[in-house]
């Protein structure tokens, strides 16, 4: 199977996963205690019996569950995620407006955590048993135990409140009228703390995994062969061990991508980052279930997308996948 076919197969599986998540989504809304129509009527500001019955018919809530599910799914396929009565806007518009900020945050954090994690893990396994190794292992252990929202708050306390070096709030300086490079720099400064605080936990995960995996690969016969034929140790470390040790790390990164996207809810809440996570938090506070479920569906879709990207990286790291 070639790379294209593999990616198409993965794309199909991803689509099936998103549909399945949509079904779960639908069942969860129906499982929520309380009558959705009563909620809708309350949100619209009226609740006499006739209006309730009219609403019930209008939203198809008087039809059997399977018909309702079919309607919901066909709406989702057409990218209609419902209407937010609190914000008086279609859910999809609200989400699309926030999507770039979230993609910027999670994308940069994902790349940073993977690159830093692999570098630190590789360095630590090369210096195994020395103070460098202990230092990296300890740092990874501590970050692995730190709640990322708390880390984010401590960063704000230090870099914004105490030192005043970095902005601790928002996406760019409001009303500054910056354009071009100055605007990009401004966004970068705002992005720095949210992105790093989100990345550090996952960096710790990847560093631990890379270290363990490299120490395991270093015991294998082909490494001894390379040593016996006199390959330079640094070259063995980089080309022979690291490359083979990366496979489980990339697999893990695919699995963890969903976790990172979910974790962004916390980061965005702390930094008032105007992304989907923050939108989800607001929806939560306002009991706006349509919006909450829309956010959940879109974050799930993003997780599936990140999985596809790691699958693609996988085919680059391991050429054997092409023939498999």
């Amino acid at each position: 199977m070639n790379r294209l076919q593999l990616m198409l197969k993965r794309l199909f599986q991803g689509g099936v996963a998103i549909l399945a998540i949509a079904v779960v989504n639908f069942l969860l809304i129906r499982a929520a205690p309380g009558d959705p129509v009563a909620v809708l009527a309350g949100e619209a500001g009226a609740s006499d019996e006739q209006f309730v019955a009219q609403l019930r018919a209008q939203f198809g809530l008087d039809q059997p569950l399977s018909v309702q599910l079919w309607h919901y799914l066909s709406n989702v396929v057409q990218l209609d995620l419902g209407f937010s009565y609190r914000q008086q806007q279609p859910v999809l518009d609200l989400i699309l407006e926030r999507l770039p900020a979230t993609l910027l945050l999670t994308g940069s954090a994902f790349v940073m955590s993977l690159v830093l994690g692999v570098l630190l893990g590789a360095w630590s396994s090369r210096k195994v048993g020395t103070w460098v190794d202990s230092a990296i292992t300890t740092v990874a252990l501590v970050f692995y135990a730190t709640p990322l929202y708390w880390l984010a708050m401590m960063a704000v306390l230090l870099f914004t409140v105490q030192l005043g070096w970095l902005p601790g709030f928002g996406y760019f300086t409001v009303g500054s009228g910056l354009t071009g490079f100055a605007l990009a720099w401004d966004v970068f400064l705002h992005l720095l703390m949210p992105s790093v605080s989100l990345a550090l936990f996952y960096m710790a995960v990847y560093a631990r995994m890379t270290r363990a995996s490299m120490l395991e690969v270093a015991q294998m016969d082909f490494v001894k062969t390379a040593q016996a034929k006199g390959v330079h140790p640094r070259r063995i470390h980089r080309n022979h061990i690291l490359r083979n040790a990366l496979l489980p790390v990339v697999t893990l990164a695919g699995i963890q991508a969903g976790g990172m996207i979910g974790g962004a809810v916390l980061t965005e809440t702390v930094f008032s980052w105007p992304g989907i996570g923050r939108l989800m938090f607001d929806a939560l506070m306002q009991r706006d279930y349509n919006l909450l479920m829309g956010c959940f569906l879109v974050t799930s879709a993003m997780a599936v997308l990140f999985n596809l990207i790691t699958d693609f990286i996988y085919t680059l790291v391991d050429p054997r996948i092409e023939m498999a």
């Binding site: 996963a17 998540i21 929520a32 135990a145 730190t146 709640p147 708050m153 409140v161 976790g259 799930s300």
Partner: protein
């Protein structure tokens, strides 16, 4: 056997320290409230008192004049309780599904693994938020939500163990001796797969505590229970005035979770007899 386990466990210094911290946190959670004559919600003093203030609130008070130390003591109860109970529930789900998939293989395995993968591809924290929000915040809904998002790795691990053990002679022998399938699964295979499950469970308690604190931070905790995450959450808007409100509960979370992770590593060393020669 037991002595060998302890010898290997104690060789890992981090694990011993971790166990010490954990015992301390458990003691505080169990006995701490006995030494306080007021609850975590009681307004006992002026608001925004700094730590080590003269009249005896050594960790200070929060926006409403509630004692931070009382909050930490009661929060320890909630964190440990939810951490352990949700881990037990997710072990029940994960071990059952993993055992069935690994033992029977074939289409049963395929179906169960697709199901597991589906849960793994969902952003777990987002799913937990949605579950708690829909079923109203309470200890029970938090335990359910945490269990629902944390069982997939258990199922995969147990499935792998069962697939390997299923092929072994003692399983065939037990089947030939006429033992029923559930009996073989529960009394023959499961005891042999316990070590990795125990190690994973200790790490799961750690991540369950992190998850619980994150949910409480967003205001999704049980409104009747004080918790560390909730305390950090209330500190968010007043960070400039009251650093101590965020720092102490956060440090408690880090120490507890770190201790559990260290104990997990120690258990791994203790149960792995092959580690004897190394290190």
């Amino acid at each position: 056997m037991k002595n060998a386990f302890w010898r290997r466990f104690c060789r890992n210094k981090g694990a011993v320290i971790g166990l010490g911290v954990l015992v301390w946190v458990a003691l505080v959670a169990l006995l701490g409230p006995l030494f306080l004559d007021y609850g975590p919600w009681d307004m006992v003093d002026a608001p925004f008192l700094e730590p080590l203030s003269p009249d005896g609130r050594w960790l200070g008070t929060d926006t409403m004049g509630r004692d931070i130390w009382a909050g930490l003591v009661h929060g320890a109860r909630v964190s440990l309780l939810i951490g352990f109970v949700s881990t037990v529930v997710s072990l029940l789900i994960g071990v059952s599904l993993g055992a069935i998939a690994g033992y029977f293989g074939g289409w049963v395995d395929a179906v169960l693994m697709r199901f597991t993968e589906l849960f793994q591809s969902v952003p777990s924290f987002a799913l937990a938020i949605v579950l708690v929000a829909i079923f109203e915040p309470s200890v029970a809904s938090m335990v359910t939500a945490i269990a629902v998002v944390s069982w997939p790795p258990v199922a995969r691990l147990v499935r792998g163990e069962f697939m390997a053990l299923r092929q072994r002679d003692f399983v065939s022998a037990a089947l030939l001796a006429g033992q029923s399938t559930p009996r073989v699964i529960l009394t023959q295979i499961l005891p042999n797969a316990v070590s990795p499950i125990v190690v994973m469970a200790s790490l799961m308690v750690a991540s369950a505590i992190l998850l619980e604190s994150s949910l409480s931070f967003l205001g999704l905790g049980d409104p009747n229970q004080m918790s560390w995450g909730y305390m950090v959450g209330t500190a968010r808007t007043v960070m400039r005035q009251a650093w101590w409100m965020a720092v102490f509960p956060g440090v408690s979370i880090v120490l507890t979770v770190l201790a559990l992770n260290l104990v997990g590593e120690g258990l791994n060393d203790g149960m792995n007899a092959r580690a004897d020669g190394k290190r």
